[in-house]
């Protein structure tokens, strides 16, 4: 098989092209938001949120049986509430954000399980209404994730210096009279929207991994935040691209393949550091 054919064969399928574009844009958005989460020590925000939306999924399913889109909006609303809750708990309770994440996450998750167990008659796994698969991306989903990705990156570019400052030294940001509280909640809401959309479009493994692994790779590789952000987004997009080709040729589940490629990049960056001493 020649090189042209290697790339052209899968690209003949519309579903593969959609999957490729969706994976790359979701990965870019996740990595951009994820860089700030990793810097703030909120690595598990994504995992927590994926569980915390369960009550929303349950209620969405209850009110609009079987409509994936309706369930998505419910999940999105719940995610935004949960992230505001995390911000509020960590502020009022004088707790670190990771502790607040833990508390809100288990509370919401238990509420979801409780709701499901009292109202019987759910057909199958509710989670399927939330977690998508990158190979099943519809044109609507693709538009959703591409728009999200563009929006996230525009917000981060527009507020870059304030977000960086509020992440590095929140007290100093306050003495500069910056709206640091607004920045905190903005970042949380941005992360919530990104995670829920990515969950729906590309599935759970891919979304959660892209939130952490490419930012970590960027942090190993780059010395300054602009470089770290660019590298994180770059590695994420490359992971999406090569991961889907790996998935195609190795007959591997796409989420797993993308995560494997991303982890490969991370190991490469780690070896590079070790090689330099």
């Amino acid at each position: 098989m020649n090189l042209v054919e290697f790339f052209a064969a899968p690209l003949r399928h519309a579903f593969f092209v959609r999957a490729l574009l969706a994976a790359m844009s979701a990965a870019a958005a996740c990595a951009a938001v994820g860089t700030f989460l990793v810097l703030r020590g909120m690595t598990f925000f994504g995992d927590a949120l994926a569980h915390a939306v369960l009550p929303g999924v349950a209620l969405g399913y209850l009110f609009h049986r079987g409509s994936r889109t309706a369930v998505f909006w419910w999940a999105l609303g719940t995610a935004i509430l949960a992230s505001l809750g995390i911000g509020w708990v960590s502020r009022r309770g004088r707790l670190k954000e990771d502790t607040a994440i833990g508390i809100v996450f288990v509370g919401m998750f238990a509420l979801g399980i409780g709701l499901i167990s009292t109202v019987r008659g759910y057909a199958v796994d509710l989670v399927h209404f939330l977690f998508g698969n990158v190979l099943a991306v519809s044109p609507f989903d693709l538009g959703l994730v591409a728009g999200l990705s563009l929006g996230v990156i525009l917000v981060i570019l527009a507020l870059y210096k304030e977000l960086a400052l509020a992440t590095f030294d929140p007290l100093f940001a306050r003495t500069l009279r910056l709206p640091t509280e607004f920045m905190r909640y903005l970042l949380l809401v941005l992360a919530a929207v990104t995670v829920v959309t990515a969950l729906r479009v590309v599935g759970v493994a891919l979304a959660l991994a892209m939130l952490v692994v490419p930012p970590a790779t960027g942090l190993l590789w780059g010395r300054r935040l602009p470089a770290v952000l660019t590298l994180a987004v770059g590695f994420a997009v490359l992971s999406g691209f090569w991961g889907l080709f790996l998935s195609y040729y190795a007959g591997m589940a796409p989420g797993a393949a993308v995560v494997l490629v991303a982890t490969g990049f991370f190991l490469l960056a780690l070896l590079r550091i070790i090689g330099r001493g």
Binding site: K161, E162, A164, L165, D169, F172, R177, L178, R223
Partner: protein
């Protein structure tokens, strides 16, 4: 002056800092009571006292970070909440030292307030930051990642950030903690030069000997002001005992009186 200090209009004749009957209540207890002083432009003031005396509370209130429960604070005639020209350097800046940034990046953050939302930092901001770095003697380290700095270099970097911010009042909470003697001297000499250039400086300190040598005014604090004035007048055995109680050992040293108390323990209850 108003051009150097965006965010609030300065009254030309008003003193740099004017504090009247300041009181702060924290967690239901008075943390600060009846503090009054006036500091002219270019003046310096050292705030001394035992741990928990309210030094950090006073600086936070001056910075506009906490609200006084009584009394007034005026910075060039205006309330502190609207000033960008106040630079506050906390005791242990709660920053992540592994943050991917160079020294220049951090100093540039001092310009964020001036530049405003949705605008990018330009060459003029870079020039200001570079100038500030030269002023504190860190120009050669501009491109160094911040995690590689020593304690003294970290303090100088934050001072440079305050200069880049074009602050006219510097509020420093125990900036010498953890530094060796030459680094402490270096910072104090730099502060002396800056006040000579018209900056107003308020520093919370434990080292009474250094206060005596480098400051023209001292405020001895134990929730309430115990003494205020030139260091030799303030550091009398009676006043020091009133502030530090029996925890204090007074030593007659060549430089003057040394107070050996809880100076070892830098953390004040918040």
């Amino acid at each position: 002056m108003s051009a150097r200090c965006p965010g609030a209009i300065h009254s030309a004749e008003a003193p740099a800092l004017e504090v009247r009957d300041l009181a702060v209540v924290r967690n239901g207890r008075p943390a600060l009571e009846g503090v009054s002083f006036v500091l002219e432009k270019g003046g310096n003031l050292a705030v001394v006292g035992p741990n928990g005396a309210g030094k950090t509370t006073l600086l936070s209130a001056l910075a506009g970070l906490i609200r006084p429960s009584a009394g007034t604070i005026r910075v060039f005639g205006q309330p502190p909440g609207r000033h960008l020209c106040l630079a506050y350097l906390p005791q242990r800046p709660a920053v992540e030292w592994n943050f991917p940034a160079t020294v220049l990046d951090v100093v540039l953050m001092g310009r964020v307030g001036q530049v405003g939302l949705l605008r990018r930092l330009g060459p003029a901001d870079r020039a200001k930051a570079q100038e500030a770095l030269e002023r504190v003697g860190l120009a050669s380290l501009a491109r160094r990642p911040i995690r590689e700095l020593s304690g003294g270099e970290q303090q100088r970097m934050f001072l440079a950030r305050a200069l880049a911010q074009e602050a006219s009042v510097l509020l420093l909470d125990e900036p010498l903690t953890g530094l060796d003697a030459p680094a402490q001297e270096g910072i104090l000499v730099l502060l002396g030069e800056l006040t000579g250039e018209g900056l107003t400086v308020v520093v919370a300190l434990h080292e009474l000997d250094l206060v005596a040598r480098h400051f023209s005014q001292a405020l001895l604090l134990r929730t309430r002001p115990v003494a205020l004035g030139a260091p030799p007048e303030v550091f009398t055995p009676a006043a020091l005992r009133a502030a530090y109680g029996t925890a204090l050992h007074l030593l007659a040293a060549p430089e003057g009186t040394l107070a050996l108390g809880e100076a070892c323990c830098p953390k004040e209850p918040r």
